[in-house]
Amino acid sequence: MSNPLRDMEHPDVIFCIGTNMTECHPVAATRLKKAIAKGAKMIVADPREIHLAKLADLHLPIRVGSDVALLLAMAHVIAREGLIDREFMDARTADGEAFLAHVRDFTPEWASPICEIPAADIETAALWFGCGKPSAIYYTLGITEHICGVDNVQSLCNLALMTGNLGIEGGGINPMRGQNNIQGAGDCGAVPNNFPGFQPCDNPEFAAKFSEAYRTDIEAIRGITKVTALDLCGKEEGGIHAILIDGENTVVTDPDMNHCRHALQSLDHLVVIDLFLTETAQLADVVFPATGFAETDGVQTNTERRVQRLRAAVPAVGESKPDWWIVSQIAKRMGTPGFEFESAKEVFNELCSLSPIYAGLDWDRIENSEYQWPVPHKDHPGTPRLHEQEFKNGRGLFKIIGYRDPAEVIDREFPVWLTTGRRLQSYHSRTQTGRSEGIDYLLSEETLEVNPDDAKAWSLADGEFVKMASRRGEIQIKVRVTDCSPKGTVFASFSFASVPVNILTGSGYDPVTQTAELKVCPVRIAKI
Amino acid sequence: MTDQEIIAQWQAQDAPLLPVLHAIHDRDGYLSDDAIRAVSKGLGIPLAELFGTVTFYHHFARSKPGHSAPRVCTGNVCSLNGGLEILEALKSEGATPMPCSGRCDDMVPVLRGDQVLVGHTADTLQHRPTPIPAPNSGGLEECVFRHIRAPQRNTLAGFRATSGYAGLEKAVTSSPADLVALITDSKLAGRGGAGFPTGLKWKAVAEASGVPKSIVCNADEGEPGCFKDRAIMDFDPHALLEGMLLAAYATGAPRGFIYLRYEYPETARSLQTAIDEAAAAGFLGENILGVSGFHFHLRIIRGAGAYICGEEGSLLNSMEGKHPFPRNRPPFPVTHGFEDLPTVVNNVETLASASHIARKGAEWYRGLGLGEHVGTKVISLSGDIQRPGNYEVPFGFSLQTLLHDWAGGPPPGRNIQAVTMAGLSGGFLAGDDLDVTLDEPCIRSKGSFLGAGGIMVFDDSRDMVQVAHDAMAFFAHESCGKCFPCRIGTQRLTERLNGLGPKKFPAWQEEVNDIGSVMKATSACGLGMAAPLVTESLLRYFPDAIELHLSPPQ
């Protein structure tokens, strides 16, 4: 997030797109509710009538995967109505004129049939957003899990840049991070393109820095992504033959489950570290028991870049060990130098010494959770709000983006849009929530949410099991008839192992980030 | 009309909740779950909150027969006059009791649908107009009742024939500030009981920032033993309208509301007639009397049965569709009233008085009081008295003269044992303390207050502990439940007047005094502060009766 969580109580206009915040980030959503109670206006763009949409002043039930068209048309209206922040654009951005010229053709009338919403609503959303002082954008995986995920994000950046809503209280462009430490995994360099602290791998200067620190020779080339790696599993030529997985149930949470399972099965060597014998761990050659929440001392970074301490409250269950210890022990046995860590503190302090955004931090300084990175030196108070003075790379760049269809679109064979997501009461593959007493009382099974009109047209009854198939596979799922789903679109989460929705997904990947298009998957639904 | 049509009719208007609920309640006789869901959605009120608010009001039924079932007044006076028997007789028709419904000068009222029937027995219930105030036998000059007995005074023509709207016509020839000065100069003060100077209130609203401002007439006459506002509205409604118009002119408020208690359905109709007449004649609407920018629109908001809604914070919350708890003060309504905007909240009698003052002048009004006292007060007299009714007396007037000379004294062969003050809120006066004059300084010196001017008389045949119990049970029934001392205190005091609690007098007295003193000192509004005056005065005047209550003879 560019802005701190507390800023969520201060926007004038809230624009939520592709975020089911009341279910996926409920505590953050409480802040938006407070802003609304104080008079803020909220626009929610989401195909489904989620709870957030019910709280909104304007709900735009866009067709799945049509975000870019909506955002282009909003930019068009903002430009046409002279709602741009000229001063901000002149002082802090680049390529603005080209962008303004670009959006001239993309009227709400153009976007309306693509997004399947009235042009007048697009107009209203744009006027509100353009007039908000400030207007803030919130998004989640509904924006990124598309083949055009990067385009979606950049389209949102364009909106924020043209209206000067960056670097100010209550504004910003704010992705809500999904997992407790997904931000931290990036901070720590567990990505193929960056070393810790977002220092690019393909920059020889940083490759040299880490080669020296790690006493080895690290190539100054980006690594492959997980998606590519899974595609290469077992391949003779340039294939991947061994994987170390720490705490991820890849088989259930990743798209195209059958492909994923097959990939992991084709490895020579798979080692998994986890709390439970997950579907993924079952495929491993060796499984290590890790300590989890309440047993582990450590650090994690939240969605607002706040670096916080985790503390062990109970002894480790059984013989389980912290992940860092397990990884270090393997490394040591392989003769890799630099793994003589005795404590989480030593690991974290080494990270701080190599990461400019953590340079001002160490284990003892984060005791009270008051720092939000970047914290470049010990006298720095941290950075609750990004881009207040200037952008990291100088000027905010407008990007010229065009609309394109999802990887797969509905057709005669697969005439229904499936979109996937999460539910309040369960977390991911339920390895934790599924093992906590009482959660079943609230949510005991997965269902497919179907619009009442569709249910009627397809002769489906509430509670009936159906077959749902995509180009990649087929599952059985129970129908729940609800207004929440728009006509022609159905919804399910991937949380329940008994309903492996990700057998169906995986139609395409964003070319830049290789994020899978989990939000769009044409399917057909048939009675059993 | 469907729920949706009803909601659509009101949702763009101010204060839509009560009108919508009433429309549905009138249509179905009760408020169904589905209706409440529809209203919640239509008006954007969270369902649980709306449900809670609906349950707050005495008269909103949640099942049939509800609206059409008889509701029988079992107030302090009516329970002595056959109310309990009528209730019992009508049980088979689904009759339920209701607290004092403001007709203590008549036979026992029974509310059925939107009609009030009166009678001494269930068999003889009849519909008839409310009693008109009798001329006072002292021949003293009146203010509020000056023209109330004039023929057709409740019509626009009759009102105009007796100088109606002349005060307003005079006022608009001068500035709003002049009008505020006139009212201030008259020393008119709030006649609902609080006695706040009216001129000061209007001035504060005139000077407060925030628009649109509002004039709210508090016609939720819920105090037991008070029925004066009913008489004014039934027989002189245009005087109230004129008072509100004066307030509107003085403050620049374009919208007005009369918050009328539920138990006055006929008054609602006659007021509406008056409003319609006034609007047709151009006294309501835009550019009134040709004065550019003098706009005033007036609506009736019917309450739904909650004494606390006579408290101005509760009243405003009720209008806004919120749970009718009192508001914390400050801020006061003059700056943060209806919708948190500047608002005049005045009682009916106050506003009616203003209409006469505007015409006759400040000096005239001040001169109506006796001695150093200023102006008049309408007293609602009921109970064990030969001629119950509304009497307008000058401040400083002798209570004994009112009771015996004007109202004919107690029934033959009886003596007056005690009277209540301020309806029930002032507790009792008895013995030598009946020799008071009717003005706040004198009544307050006896530990009571005059308040809204309701006086109930109890003769020497009455069990005063029982009377006190019924009074406290009323307060417990009407306590809103927000502040602890009142919510628990009224309950515990009621129990102590009903045989529960300590059996020995000193322990009983200690508990009752402790509860009373914490209620008086810490309650959040007047209800909790006033309720213990009942037990306090009972202890003062009738300790023997309490002893008898605690240890009845074997």
Binding site: V27, T30, K33, A37, M176, Q179, N180, N181, A185, A190, T216, I218, G223, A229, G239, A242, D246, G247, T253, H269, V271, L275, D285, F288, P289, T296, T303, R306, Q308, R309, L310, V317, G318, S320, P322, D323, W324, V327, F339, A344, E350, S369, E370, Y441, L442 | L50, F51, G52, T55, F56, N328, P330, C480, G481, F484, R487, I488, D514, S517, T522
Partner: protein
Amino acid sequence: MHQVADNTRTCTMTLGGGSVNFREGETIYEVAERHRKEVPTLCYDPRLEAFGACRLCVVEVEGIRNPVASCTTKATEGMVVRTRTPVLDKHRTTLLELVASENRNTKVDSLSGYASQEFGNLLDRYPVRAGRFAGKKSGTSNTDDKNPFILRDYENCISCYRCVRVCAEQEGDHAINVMNRGFHTQIITEFNNDLRDSSCTFCGQCVATCPTGALGDKKALRAKDTPGEIKKTRSVCPYCGVGCSVDILTKGDRVVGIHPAMDGPANEGALCVKGQYAFDFVHHPDRLTKPLIKQPDGTFREAEWDEALQKAADGFLKVREKYGNHATYGIASGRAPHEAAYTMQKFIRATYGTNYIDNCSRA
């Protein structure tokens, strides 16, 4: 929540005999709290709009006849306030006695909830005489509500409406409200249904603010009879990226409950159903307790650490020997702490010299 802007004027008042500074807009209660006057209250929660219901916080203000509720009264320049006098103490004692008289239990287990001891503690602080003001009890417990998280023991409810207000003001769910009036008030959902059938999201905020334990944490109360002291450890919720601060409650070696951290920067006392109640996985029998090694028949056997670690390392060495550095990949977790992600990426980079590392953010 009542917030006073930083730039307001500084004023002076007399509080309990001493002169103190305050910022214009602060309430008397806020000033008194800051100066540790320990003004008692039951309906106050600093996160909520002051309500003025319990009247325990009344103070004497010179020039005003009746005591005023300090929580709803703004401090003003030159105000002279007394927070403790014999009269105030007497009123407070009487009020507490009245409140005690409507409840069945005045002592509840502290596992009931974060604020559950407030009422009991106040009873201990004042010379409350047991059994005074005996009479009817208020509130009807909703024992029919079978939800597994929130105990609704309204027989111990004192109608302070903190639960109603926190649900509306903090959580924005408006799931509960108050039915009826006076002594018959009762906290309810719409139409007095079960919580599951209302807009309740089981965030647990109502439980955390309840000062009497009328609303109790059913999960934590499972450990009521477990011997041992309750220990609190500050940590961060293991679920989404918001990063809510929590206090983990433990008895002996077991996690028994979670309290929201009122001073947590991300959540300021809020949690959701997962963070509040979904912690049983920690001690779940499915937890792996020993390393596992896959056997030729495809089943696992438990192994000692040394053997398993060596087997893991040997497997990686073998693949490197056969296929080189670009044949091994690391997938780090978005769920594990920094130390896990850091050592994972270091393992790949330092062992293989490649950047063949990723995490689950692409899922």
